[in-house]
Amino acid sequence: MSVEFKPNIICFACNWCSYTGADMAGTSRMKYPATIRIIRVPCSGRVNPTFVMKAYQKGADGVLIAGCHPGDCHYNSGNYFAKRRFLLATRFMTFLGIDEKRLRMEWISAAEGVKFARVMREFSETISKLGPNLRAREEA
């Protein structure tokens, strides 16, 4: 892939754990590529798989959903439902032909700023290697 390809990665971060984890990564001045754009959602259970397909359609190269560890969800069961939905949605998107490495789900708690930065670096690296996502993407 040409060096200057900058992936466009959308991250849905749950407000109570992962978004605060992202803030924690910020306060401890950890670095990760500027290719990640974070959308704050109240809970990982709020993320509709249709949003992920919409992201691919509108030009995202990778989508990452960060939620609380199972059992820690502020709303008790949001991440369990998210897990079920994306267990099915990931397999279905792969079935449709979208590369499964382009969607990733991670449990990141409010205290895991280190993990947040590491996951962001890893994911941005994987997507840069994969190149732009042209599948199910809108024509200009």
Binding site: K6, N8, I10, N15, W16, C17, Y19, T20, A22, D23, A25, G26, T27, R29, M30, K31, Y32, P33, A34, R37, I38, I39, R40, V41, P42, C43, G45, R46, V47, N48, P49, F51, K54, A55, K58, G59, A60, C68, G71, D72, C73, H74, Y75, N76, S77, G78, F81, A82, R85, S109, A110, A111, E112, A117
Partner: protein, 659 residues
Amino acid sequence: MKKIGVFVCWCGLNISSTVDVEKASEELKNYPGVFYADDYKYLCSDPGQELIKKTIVDNKLEGIVVAACSPNMHESTFRAAAEAAGLNPYRVEITNIREQASWVHSNKEDATAKAIQLIKSTVEKVKKSEDLFPQQIPLTKKVLVIGGGISGMTVALEVAEAGYPVILVEKEPQIGGNMAKLSETFPTLDCASCILTPKTAEVGRHSNITLMTNSEVIESTGYFGNFTVKVKRKPTFVDWKKCIGCMLCQEKCPKKTNSDFEHGMGKRKAISVAFPQAIPYRPIISEKECIYFKTGKCKICVKVCPVDCIEFEQEEKIIEENIGAIVVASGYDLLPKEELGEYGQGKYADVIDGMQFERIASASGPTEGVIKRPSDGKIPKSIVFIQCAGSRDNQKGRPYCSKICCMYTAKHAMLYKHQVHDGEATIFYMDIRAGGKGYEEFVQRAIEDDHVLYLRGRVARVYEEDGRLVVLGVDTLSGEQVRIEADLVVLATAVIPSIGAKALGQTLKVGTDTYGFFNEAHPKLKPVESMTKGVFLAGCAQAPRDIPETVSQATGAAAKVITMFSKNHLVSDPQVAKVNEKICVGCLLCKPICPYKAIEPEIVEVRVGCRAEKRQVATINKGLCQGCGACSVACRSGAMNLSGFSNEQILEELKSLCL
């Protein structure tokens, strides 16, 4: 098109160092929908807020985007400012360009480009925002305190004194917690039970406090101001109302067993009370130990009991309470020494931990305060104390400092030297942390007056050699290896959350960190609140701390509860779910998703064309709904939406981020 104002904050150098703030506000000036764009040094300062208020009023703005630090920090500040200027607070959105842009990226050009894109996407989100108005919810003015240690009792007393009913739940049969087990307390060396028993007595007789010992919280539903909690009272097999506390049963009971209260240092009877000053001073039968439960014979306690209050067939009871606030004061436990391989993994009787030493040194303890070796009961000639046993140790997954061991180990050494003047007390330490009031002077006194030998270095191994314990360590100051033979070794093991704290957290839906201590809402600014509204934290449940700090934190938590109860009703967050009744078909796919059971079917009259039609639709109990939004994904036609994070808002944000 809405008139939106964009304010980009410099945050001193925090943002402006890696995000070109001027370029951002310049570029936003002519973005469609943006009427006013500006940047300012410190938006969260008063002049900054005034600037926002003035701009809203002068230009009659309909939406505000503040590009600054994390919403968790100042969202409420800027929303309050907008409200003061007459704009609905939920028309204000924050773009996080500090923690999630300037601080995490080094390349200025990339960071600025990303910041501008983030601000544009927030502008799109604000375009789709609506006016939201908080709800008023009724409130039950009764607090549930979990944990009867010093922190739980302090909270209970403070809130009870303020006139509100308190329910104090303690899993042990008596209150007092770990403090009741201590001999003396640092730095004043005054006896623990002397300063504790007045408190436990007061709690015992306070009219506003309902004591539920030997009980656990098993279920908690509802939300802040309206919790419904189920407490399981384990059977004590003694009818405490009839019992007069003569303790004849404890005297006559033939069966002896290990006492948990004594941490294995002493015995107790099958029917017994943990310690003499226990509140409530009532005995409890240990089902595992009692002969009658095992063989069906004995029943001596029934014979001797003057008021016949032994009830072998007593069942556990589930009590349901309506609660307004919950305070978690579940306290701490010590890391079991079995986990410390290098110190003999609990094989050697004379290698004990701090709490066991407290019991030996305590006047009401098994040895009536005389420090003896647990193995043969002799007075030890030399004791070695090992600090940071399991704490500050990355391999064992506990890098944190347990904070209280330096002080109580110095106290132990001092108590030993007061009893055995010619005894040798050696303390292996890494760094002495004596930061409290009078703490440093206390340690100096131990060194100078009581000649306690402080050796700076870690102990490599402890093993037994012909009846005596050998401690191999190093003295980093002199650089030599050290080999000391000792009669007794005391490990200052790590402070860990009390057993069952993680499970309690999941019952109350309060997060715990990687070590199992409860997560506070904000480490510096909200130490006594948990992430769940209405659930507060006090004492070691949140992190290791000493008694003065615990009491001050407990008083803080009590103050929070009292302020919450001072109002007649609560104001709820309006960012909750909302049903579009024109579209909802009443299929109720959303209902099983809601963790708060806030969704119920209802028959409504809806006008369709020229006739009214009866339809079943889903309705939301705005008080119960906490706004997680999981139901809106289950809704196929999009009838169920979440105000504040609606489908439209998220889609617009997503689209503008992908351009």
